[in-house]
Every structure is written in structure tokens, then in C-alpha cells.
């Protein structure tokens, strides 16, 4: 955490003062986190308070952990405002957020971490990206996750209680989060992620207007086509066609086959992305999301739970009555329709190690892709690969050399002595010369506890460079990370966005 170079004496003095103010006092602090979920049918928000504490005691090397998470405020559930079927009504979303912050009694600037997540079909809307960016400007300078379907499933499983359940019982649980557009499945065993899968199964895949079918989503159309002309259901038809019941029953059966990793060729129109990729046999299942609300009715009486004109209720009924699904033990979720927003608000933030090197003026940093360089326990091998690896990272993340920054994630480090650290720093500095923009901060994430010494060494070797070196965060190659402001306890919150799940 040494911000400037050491050139002049006057500078030196100033620097020390600044550091001291930032660095020491607190053993404890609270930060606020926001979670905003803009789903296919509904939008909601939660505000939570995280309590951070130095768990190592006053005189040890500090170890800051989140010791408590408390949900301070839950918004009502709003209908997701859309301008047309393919665009999100950005202003309306912002109004919701502003009003809800006011009700919660907080201001955007109080929020230090959290995630906005645009889920399901909404994520494919034209202006999804834009919405996220504009929100992150108005909703607080916090951290933002645009979720891919895998991350959605993971976040929902954490918000629903499935992850906790697996951790507590050691069992293999599948959390099936079904909203308006997709069913996102994440499988956990003893707190460890085993795999994910996403299906085009949701309440709003067929919508009604009065007694008529208003819309049928493309994957369903494709499926019905496959079933032949007797199974037609198109816009303008009566909502009471028998094929709809057949369809929701089929969806329940597909979920069961997916859980067993036995999807048939004829199920494939409903598969979004990769096949189920876990190896374990599932022992218990949990449903969350809007459809789960239709099953469990936790929110009855609460605002915004009006009947939707879609197949949600019928799908819920098909799930409840499915023979195949009844073969598993069903565990009730903590949260139904709010699982994702709670996951986004309370489960996406990690805390870095407490001995790190960051330059506050560079933070927060958003959407940095992660390029992993495994050292395979041999320093020289890693060093040899470094220039090549950085060129490759540039090829992947900044092919036009426009200056898209990325984070280097150094893993499988052997034991590092002082000389090794010097050598490592020198090789990193010479390798990043290939980057087009030398003003950019050099961002390094370490698996092992070496961030302070490496950061310090890089700074000594390159006093004018800007360095962010953090550790004890587990990410994966290809993840995106956001690094938040330096907190008073000398840690930074980090949000890791796993867009695809690899084993």
C-alpha cells in the first residue's frame, strides 16, 4: 500500500502520512452491499451489511474475514420494465433503484460492493450491457456482474440455501432455479461445485393475453415443431389447448432426465449451452426462482406477486406432480423468487488477503479478464513461460491492442525466497512491455500469500508504474474480476464472475 515513488524527501514524508491514515486502526468494519436482479419477469433488490473483522487478533499478521452478513432491506418484487420485447426500460429500472434506495435510507455512495445481475432471457436483450453500465454509475460505485447462465445457477444456489445445505450435510444437491426464461441448475456436494446446466424452461416461454396465446418463445416453437402438426400452439390460439399441459409435463420430465445426465436427442431444443457436467449422482433437489414461489408461496400477500399471464402456475403444477422428480427428496429453499438477488447481494464478494499492495487511485477496477499462469511448482519454468503467456493474454483479451487491461493470476508457485521474488518481478516487468498502454495499472492476483512483497518489489523496480497486487483469492482462467476500493481494514472486496464453468 505504498502509493508513490520515493524520489524526494518531501514526497516521502507526505506518503507516510497518507498510508498511516489509511492503513491501521480498525480491526473491524461494516460495509454495505447491494444486489439487484433484473430477471425475465421480475426485478428486485436487496441491501445487506457485511461485518468484516480481523480474525487473527491484534498482534498477528492480520486476517480479515466476513464474519456476518445481515440483510437490511428487501424491495418488493417488481415486474421487469421493458420498453419493447427486446429492450430493457433503463430509466424505469433506475427509478426503481433510486426509490428503493430512498426507502432503505441509503445513498448510492454508501454501497461498497455487490452485483447487478441480468438474468435469463433478459440478458439477451439488446441493451443489457448498457443497462448494467448505466446502473453501476447511478446505483453506487460498486462491483458489477453480468451473469452468464452458469454463474446465475451458482448465485441462485447460494441464495436459496442449497449450497449451505450441501455444506452442512455433505450431500449432493441440485438447485434448480426456474424463472421466466430459464432453469439454471447448479450441483453442489459438501459445499463444492460439481457442475451446472441451463435449460430453456421457464414461466414466460408462453404468455397469454386474455384467453389467447400472446407469444411463444423460439425454443418452444422449435420443440413443438419437432412434435408435429398436431402439437401446434401459436399466437392467437386459445390458452386452453391441451398441448400446453403436455408441454409443462414434458419440461418436468426433461428436468429429471437432465438431473440424471440422460438428456435425449429430442430434449435438446430446450438445452441452453453445455450438457450437464457433473459426475455425481444427485441425492436431493431444491427449487428456487419464480416457479418455486408458485410451489411454496412464501411471498403470498406481499406486493408484486400478482398472477402473471403465463405458464408459470402450470409448470409448477407439473413439477409438483412429476413422478420422475418425486424420486428425489425435495428440500425447501430459504428463498424462492429472491434466491438470485440474495445470492448477488450477499454471496458474490470475496475479501482479499490483508497484506497486499494497491494504489487507491486506480480502484475500483471492473471487468478484468483473468489470465492464469501456472508455475507448476518450478519458478524457472514459470518465468520462462511468462513473456509468451503475456503475449497470448494480449492476443486473447486485447487483439486490436486497444488497451483492454487484464489480471495475471499466478498459481502453483513454489516456495519463494527473496531472490526469487526479485527475479519474478523483473521478468513480469519486462514481459508486460508488450502491452500497448504502459500507464495501465499492472494487476496481479496471487494464489499464495506473497502480494505485499511482490507488490513492493515491483514498485522498487519500477517506481513510476502503478501496481495492484492482491492475494488469497481463488479465481480461474477466463473469469472476470472486479476489484473494489481499499477498505479501512486494508483489504479489497473482489467480485469474481465465472462466466463459464470449467472443472
Amino acid at each position: 500500500m505504498f502509493n508513490n515513488s520515493l524520489n524526494s524527501k518531501a514526497h516521502r514524508h507526505f506518503r507516510i502520512e497518507v498510508i498511516i491514515i489509511k492503513r491501521y486502526e480498525p480491526q473491524k468494519e461494516d460495509i454495505l452491499s447491494a444486489g439487484i436482479d433484473i430477471g425475465t419477469s421480475t426485478t428486485k433488490l436487496v441491501i445487506s451489511k457485511f461485518s468484516l473483522m480481523n480474525m487473527a487478533g491484534g498482534m498477528h499478521m492480520p486476517r480479515i474475514e466476513i464474519i456476518n452478513k445481515e440483510v437490511l432491506y428487501r424491495s418488493p418484487i417488481y415486474r421487469t420494465p421493458l420498453r419493447t420485447t427486446t429492450t430493457i426500460d433503463m430509466e424505469a429500472v433506475e427509478t426503481i433503484v433510486r426509490e428503493e434506495y430512498a426507502k432503505a435510507g441509503i445513498e448510492a455512495k454508501d454501497i461498497q460492493t455487490g452485483a447487478v445481475i441480468i438474468t435469463g432471457e433478459t440478458a439477451t436483450k439488446q441493451n443489457a450491457e448498457e443497462t448494467i453500465h448505466s446502473l453501476s454509475d447511478h446505483a453506487g460505485e460498486f462491483l458489477v456482474a453480468t451473469a452468464g447462465p452458469d454463474l446465475e445457477g451458482i448465485i441462485a444456489a447460494k441464495g436459496s440455501g442449497a449450497y449451505e445445505y450441501s455444506k452442512k450435510t455433505g450431500k449432493v444437491i441440485a438447485n434448480i432455479d426456474i424463472g421466466g426464461g430459464t432453469a439454471n441448475v447448479a450441483v453442489y456436494k459438501a459445499g463444492k461445485l460439481c457442475g451446472t446446466c441451463t435449460l430453456h424452461i421457464g414461466g414466460r416461454l408462453i404468455e397469454f393475453a386474455g384467453n389467447q396465446i400472446k407469444s411463444v418463445s423460439p425454443p418452444i416453437k422449435k420443440l413443438l415443431q419437432q412434435w408435429g402438426p398436431s402439437s401446434a400452439a401459436k399466437e392467437g390460439d386459445s390458452r386452453h389447448v391441451t398441448v400446453i399441459q403436455k408441454l409443462t409435463d414434458f419440461m418436468a420430465a426433461v428436468i429429471a432426465r437432465m438431473l440424471n445426465r440422460e438428456l435425449l436427442e429430442s430434449d435438446k431444443p430446450l438445452l441452453l449451452g453445455h450438457e450437464p457436467d457433473w459426475q455425481e449422482d444427485i441425492e436431493v433437489i431444491m427449487f428456487s426462482g419464480g416457479i418455486s414461489e408458485c410451489i411454496y408461496k412464501y411471498e403470498t400477500g406481499a406486493a408484486g406477486t400478482a398472477q402473471y399471464d403465463d405458464i408459470g402456475e402450470m409448470l409448477a403444477a407439473s413439477l409438483r406432480e412429476s413422478k420422475e422428480l418425486s424420486l428425489w427428496k425435495w428440500v425447501k429453499p430459504f428463498e424462492t423468487v429472491r434466491a438470485t438477488v440474495l445470492g448477488a447481494g450477499t454471496q458474490t464478494t470475496e475479501i482479499s488477503g490483508a497484506t497486499i499492495h494497491v494504489e487507491s487511485n486506480e480502484l475500483p477496477l471492473r471487468n478484468l479478464p483473468v489470465y492464469q499462469i501456472p508455475f507448476g511448482q518450478v519458478l524457472q519454468d514459470g518465468l520462462k513461460r511468462m513473456p509468451e503467456a503475456i503475449t497470448q493474454a494480449l492476443e486473447i483479451y486485447d487483439p486490436q491492442r486497444e488497451g483492454q487491461n487484464f489480471a495475471l493470476y499466478l498459481t502453483e508457485m513454489p516456495y519463494l525466497g527473496f531472490r526469487d521474488i526479485q527475479e519474478l518481478a523483473a521478468v513480469i516487468l519486462s514481459s508486460i512491455q508488450a502491452k500497448p498502454n504502459h500507464q495501465q495499472p499492472l494487476v496481479i492476483v496471487l494464489e499464495s500469500d506473497h502480494a505485499k512483497v511482490l507488490g513492493q518489489t515491483l514498485k522498487v523496480q519500477n517506481p513510476s508504474g502503478s501496481i495492484i497486487c492482491i492475494d488469497q483469492i481463488r479465481v480461474e482462467h477466463g473469469d472476470y474480476i472486479d476489484i473494489g476500493h481499499l477498505l479501512q481494514t486494508s483489504v479489497v472486496p473482489v467480485v469474481i464472475k465465472t462466466l463459464t464453468f470449467h472443472h
Binding site: 500500500m1 505504498f2 520515493l6 516521502r12 506518503r15 507516510i16 498510508i19 498511516i20 492503513r23 491501521y24 486502526e25 491484534g58 498482534m59 498477528h60 499478521m61 455433505g170 459438501a190 488477503g353 497484506t355 511448482q377 518450478v378 519458478l379 524457472q380 502453483e412 513454489p414 516456495y415 519463494l416 525466497g417 527473496f418 531472490r419 526469487d420 521474488i421 526479485q422 494464489e447 499464495s448 500469500d449 506473497h450 502480494a451 505485499k452 512483497v453 513492493q456 518489489t457 514498485k459 522498487v460 523496480q461 488469497q472
Partner: protein
């Protein structure tokens, strides 16, 4: 019996035991590393599977700190020597890993996954199984082996080569003999008269930071870790613009010997890097004791310590970098230990 003989016999027995077990046959026999040094790595920061923490040779001669720059310069670095060292290091590491993550000795565990999980959470000897009401032979031998290593660490001397490399001159306390050192901690807290004179002649007076090194209760701790902590601490002080005095080594010192150093050299802060009393997990753990203006009559409560610095604990290089910040804090509040906590409020 002499220690070498004990070690030789232990090794023979262990090797025999291992030969009886088919390779890869699991069981606790794997947990004994016949020729491993008794140092084990305990990775406290990650919950992951055993990692190979190998130590490439560090062979720095004549480390020099260039004035004003904050760069630490190295002297000659001998290639061939390093390769040789590395090979043996790798081999050692394999054995060490096994030593600290022994396969469970429990036969037919009720929940093997959970047992593995629990074992991975502590370097303590849990899940080692039993033979009747007693530990298994190899568990017992390993225990004895670790105990012997601890004893060795206490009685050993720090390699002169290392002191030369770090440019540390050597002085002694009022004890000459290890037996006396053990029995008379009070004498280990006093510098000998020659020592006092020597440091007064050789050392710069009234520096902001005075670094001293002492073997204390583990010479292995100093041999294995002091170099990395020391160089990293020097860099950290330079980066922070804090000046440090002439460092030196005190043989057979105790923590409170820093009071005599404080009297003679009048530094603002003393950092004493000293070997900890060895335990059965690691015999080479180093501590950094710090104190603001230690003088005759300084009370223990005004000292502070960062302990557990070793390859399986706080990485030595990271500890060195962190110490700089702690020193900065001591200087800001002009206090250390309990007084510092009080001033901090």
C-alpha cells in the same frame, strides 16, 4: 546414546516398515519420510489439496543494499551449486509433503471424505489410527523423530557462511554453553562486556530501526528463514524511507537481550529476528520481536511479536514486507505492545 545413532536406527526401522508395505498400498507407512529432515510444511492459507512447496536454491552472496535506491543487490550466484541443491530439494519436498499430509491411518473410516477434510485442516497428528489402545509403530517413530529434530534445533549453531552472506558480525551474551543457556535465561538476556564494546564501536548510533538476529531456541529457524525475512524487511524499510542501523548477530540470545542493545545504540525501534522454541510441527519457525525504545527495565508487555514465520506458516518474504508496516505504526504512535494497543484506542 548419541543423536546420530538414534537417527540411523530410526531410519533403518522406518525403511524396513515401508519395504513391507507394497508401494501405493496406502496406509500410514507412507507418512514416514525416512531421510526427510524433520521440517514439515503446513499450508495454513489454503484449504486445497497438498501442494508441493519446494524451495529452489537461494544462494545469495554478499547481499548489498544500495543506498537511496531501495534495491537490494546480490553478489555472485553459483549455477552448478544451485542445480545440485535443487535436485535434492525436490526429492526432499516429495517426502515432506507426505510427512505433513499423511494418508489417514484409520482403517475403514466411516466417512473417508470428511476424514480427509479434517486432516487437511490441521498439521496435528489426527486420524493416525491406532493399534489397540496405542499409536501405531510408525506414528510413534515419527513422533520421536520430530521430537529429536526439535532437540537438534535447540542445540545447533548457526552456519557462519550465512552470517557472512548477510554481512552480520557476531557477538555473544553472557552464556557460552548451551546447557547454561537453557538453565539460565537471565544470562541470555545480557550482552557480554566484549559484545557491548564491539557494537558500540561498529554500529551506527541512534538509527530509526535496529535489526538484530539471534539463534534463540532454534538455530534451524535462523538458517532456513532469516535471509528471506531480513532482505525483504530491508527492502520494505527502504521503500518506506525508514533508515536502519548496522545489523548484527547475537549468539545464544533471549528476547530481552534487545534491552542491552537499546541502551548501547539508542535506536527508536528494535526488530529482533529470533528462533522460536521448536514444536513438533515445525522446528524452524522464526519470530520477529519488536519494541519501541527498549531500555533497561522495559516491561514484557511493551514488546510485540510476529510469530510462526517459516515456509509452512507466514512466508518469510511476506513477513519481511509486512514488518515494515508494523514498524511504521510503532513509530507513528511511539509505542509498542500493550501501550500501542492502548494508544490506538
Amino acid at each position: 546414546m548419541n543423536p546420530e545413532l538414534i537417527e540411523k536406527i530410526t531410519r533403518l526401522i522406518v525403511e524396513k516398515l515401508q519395504a513391507q508395505n507394497p508401494p501405493g498400498g496406502g496406509g500410514a507407512a507412507n507418512s514416514v519420510a525416512p531421510s526427510a529432515s524433520a521440517v514439515k510444511f503446513w499450508d495454513h492459507t489454503s484449504s486445497s489439496e497438498p501442494k508441493n512447496i519446494s524451495r529452489p536454491a537461494l544462494n545469495v552472496s554478499d547481499a548489498k543494499v544500495e543506498e537511496g535506491q531501495g534495491r537490494i543487490e546480490f553478489g555472485n550466484y553459483s549455477e552448478s551449486n544451485s542445480v545440485r541443491k535443487k535436485e535434492s530439494a525436490v526429492k526432499k519436498e516429495e517426502q515432506r509433503t507426505e510427512a505433513i499430509y499423511p494418508a489417514s491411518g484409520v482403517e475403514n473410516p466411516f466417512d473417508p471424505e470428511e476424514l480427509k477434510n479434517l486432516i487437511s485442516k490441521t498439521p496435528s497428528r489426527i486420524g493416525v489410527g491406532r493399534a489397540g489402545s496405542r499409536p501405531k509403530t510408525d506414528t510413534w517413530l515419527k513422533f520421536r523423530f520430530d521430537h529429536a529434530a526439535a532437540v537438534d534445533a535447540v542445540y545447533g549453531d548457526v552456519n557462519e557462511e550465512l552470517l557472512k552472506r548477510l554481512d552480520l558480525f557476531k557477538v555473544s551474551t553472557k552464556v557460552r554453553d548451551k546447557e547454561v543457556y537453557i538453565r539460565r535465561p537471565d544470562l541470555g538476556r545480557k550482552l557480554s562486556d566484549e559484545a557491548k564494546q564491539m557494537i558500540s564501536e561498529k554500529c551506527r548510533k541512534a538509527p530509526t530501526v535496529q535489526i538484530i538476529v539471534s539463534d534463540g531456541l532454534s538455530s534451524s529457524a535462523v538458517e532456513e528463514n532469516v535471509e528471506d525475512v531480513y532482505l525483504s524487511l530491508q527492502q520494505s524499510l527502504k521503500s518506506l524511507g525508514l533508515d536502519s542501523g548496522t545489523p548484527f548477530y547475537i549468539e545464544k540470545g533471549r528476547v530481552a537481550v534487545m534491552d542491552d542493545v537499546g541502551e548501547a545504540l539508542l535506536p527508536k525501534v528494535v526488530v529482533l529476528l529470533i528462533g522460536e522454541r521448536p514444536g513438533l510441527v515445525s522446528a524452524e519457525s522464526l519470530s520477529a520481536y519488536l519494541c519501541f525504545e527498549p531500555r533497561k527495565g522495559t516491561i514484557e508487555a511493551d514488546r510485540m511479536v510476529i510469530s510462526n514465520i517459516h515456509k509452512g506458516g507466514i512466508p518469510p518474504v511476506e513477513a519481511g514486507a509486512y514488518l515494515g508496516t508494523v514498524i511504521q505504526k510503532i513509530l507513528k504512535y511511539e509505542a509498542s505492545g500493550v501501550s500501542l494497543v492502548q494508544k490506538e484506542g
